[in-house]
C-alpha cells in the first residue's frame, strides 16, 4: 500500500474492506480508489490471498467417527427422559394444580361468605336506625337490657360498664342472621349510633376470623371477633378508633 494511501485509509481498513464490514459509502470510496491505485490493489490482493490461506489452514481438525458417535449417544440419552420420571412429573404437576386450585377456591369462597355476612350486618344496622322503633328494650342500664334477652335468644352475654366513657347504651332488640337469633345492642357516641351484634359462632358467621378484624363495609367500620363461643360484631359510622374502644370494653366484660 502506498504511503499516501496508508495515511488516508490505514492498513486495518483494507482488512475490514475484505471482511465486508465497511459502511457502504466507504466501501464505494475504496472500490473506486483500488481501480486507480496499483500499489493498494496489490496490497488488497496479498491480503485476500492470506485470508484464503488462513481459511484453508484453519480447517485443520476433524472429529473422529468414534467421538461423534459418543457425543450423539450422550446427547440422545439426555434428551430421552425416563417415562416413570415423566409420569411422576406430570402427577406432581396435576396434584399441585389441584391443591392450588382448591386453596384459591377456598380462599375466594371464604372471602365471598365474609363479604355476604358483613353486607347483611350493614343492612341490619341501617334498618335498625331507619326504624321508627329502633330498639325493643329502651334503657341505658345494662342490668335492664341484658335480662330482657332471657328466653328470646339461646345464649347469654355480658355488657361493659360505661360510666366514665363517652358511650351510652340506647337499648336492644333481637336480630336474625342466617336464620339464627342473636342480640343487637345500640350504643351512642357523640350522635353516632353503633350496633353491636352478638350471635353464636356457628353457621353463617363462623369462620369470619378468630381474632379481631377491622374493615370497612359501605363506609361503615366493622369490628368482629370470636369469644367464648360467641361472635361479636361492632358496626357503625363512628370512627374506627371509637369502634375499637367499644370492642375492647365488650371483650373485657365478657
Amino acid at each position: 500500500m502506498a504511503d499516501h494511501c496508508v495515511a488516508r485509509f490505514g492498513t486495518a481498513k483494507l482488512d475490514t474492506y475484505l471482511d465486508g464490514e465497511l459502511p457502504a459509502d466507504e466501501m464505494r470510496d475504496l472500490d473506486a480508489h483500488l481501480r486507480s491505485c496499483a500499489p493498494c490493489a496489490a496490497d488488497v490482493l496479498n491480503r485476500l490471498q492470506m485470508k484464503r490461506a488462513v481459511h484453508s489452514a484453519g480447517m485443520r481438525y476433524r472429529p473422529s467417527s468414534d467421538f461423534r458417535e459418543r457425543v450423539r449417544k450422550s446427547v440422545a440419552a439426555k434428551r430421552v427422559r425416563s417415562p416413570i420420571r415423566g409420569w411422576l412429573g406430570a402427577a406432581v404437576a396435576v396434584a399441585l394444580l389441584l391443591i392450588v386450585g382448591f386453596v384459591t377456591f377456598s380462599v375466594r369462597q371464604g372471602q365471598i361468605e365474609r363479604q355476604q355476612a358483613f353486607s347483611e350486618l350493614a343492612d341490619l344496622h341501617v334498618a335498625t336506625l331507619a326504624s321508627a322503633n329502633p330498639v325493643d328494650v329502651i334503657s341505658t342500664d345494662r342490668h335492664t337490657v341484658k335480662p330482657w334477652f332471657q328466653g328470646k335468644i339461646p345464649f347469654t352475654f355480658s355488657l361493659p360498664e360505661l360510666q366514665g366513657t363517652e358511650f351510652t347504651l340506647v337499648g336492644g332488640r333481637v336480630a336474625y342472621l342466617g336464620q339464627s337469633a342473636g342480640a343487637e345492642l345500640i350504643y351512642q357516641i357523640r350522635k353516632h349510633q353503633i350496633s353491636v351484634f352478638i350471635f353464636q359462632d356457628r353457621g353463617a358467621v363462623r369462620g369470619l376470623g378468630s381474632s379481631g378484624r377491622s374493615q370497612k363495609e359501605l363506609s361503615f367500620h366493622i369490628e368482629t371477633w370470636n369469644q367464648g363461643g360467641l361472635r361479636y360484631f361492632v358496626i357503625g359510622d363512628a370512627s374506627g378508633d371509637d369502634l375499637c374502644k367499644l370492642a375492647d370494653m365488650l371483650k373485657a366484660a365478657s
Partner: protein
C-alpha cells in the same frame, strides 16, 4: 448435531490437544441442551454455541493458563518488515508454516482470527460469541493479523 465439525475444529485450535478438544465439545453440547431455555429465539444460534464452547474453554485449566497473558498482549505492536509476509508466504506456499504461525498466536488472537477467517462470522457474530463489543473485535482482529504476519516472518527467517 448442528455445527459439530466446526465446533470441534475450533475447540482443537483453542486447546491444542485432541482429548481436551473432545471434552470441550462434549461439554458444550451438554450445556447447550441443559441451558436451551436461556437461548433467546431470534438471536444467533451459532454465536451462542461458540460462546458456550469458549466459556467452557476459558474455565478449563488450559484456558486459564492461556488467558493469563491477555492483558500483556493487548497493547503489542508488531513492526512491519520490508518484505511483506504475504509475499514470502505465497512464495514458499507452506501450509504447515501458516498453521504453526496460527498456533503460536495468543489464544485471544487465535480465536478471533479463526472465527473471522475460518467460520466467516460477521463482526457482530464474533462480538456475541466472545461477549465483547464490536470495537474490541475489530482492534483484536487487526492485532491478530499483524501478529500472524510477524510470526510468519520469524518462522520463514529461521527456516
Amino acid at each position: 448435531m448442528p455445527l459439530f465439525d466446526q465446533l470441534y475444529n475450533f475447540a482443537h485450535w483453542l486447546a491444542q490437544d485432541r482429548t481436551e478438544a473432545e471434552d470441550l465439545v462434549q461439554e458444550t453440547y451438554v450445556k447447550a441442551l441443559k441451558g436451551f431455555s436461556s437461548f433467546r429465539p431470534g438471536t444467533n444460534f451459532r454465536a451462542w454455541m461458540y460462546r458456550i464452547l469458549r466459556n467452557t474453554f476459558l474455565t478449563s485449566r488450559t484456558g486459564l493458563k492461556a488467558t493469563i497473558t491477555l492483558d500483556a498482549d493487548e497493547g503489542l505492536e508488531f513492526p512491519a518488515g520490508t518484505e511483506t509476509p504475504e509475499t514470502i508466504f505465497i512464495e514458499h506456499s507452506q501450509h504447515q508454516f501458516l498453521q504453526a504461525a496460527i498456533e503460536a498466536l495468543p489464544v485471544h488472537f487465535r480465536e478471533v482470527l479463526l472465527l473471522c477467517e475460518v467460520e466467516e462470522m460477521s463482526y457482530q457474530e464474533i462480538a456475541e460469541a466472545l461477549s465483547v463489543p464490536i470495537g474490541t473485535v475489530m482492534s483484536r482482529l487487526s492485532r491478530a493479523r499483524k501478529a500472524l504476519r510477524e510470526n510468519l516472518q520469524q518462522k520463514l527467517v529461521r527456516s
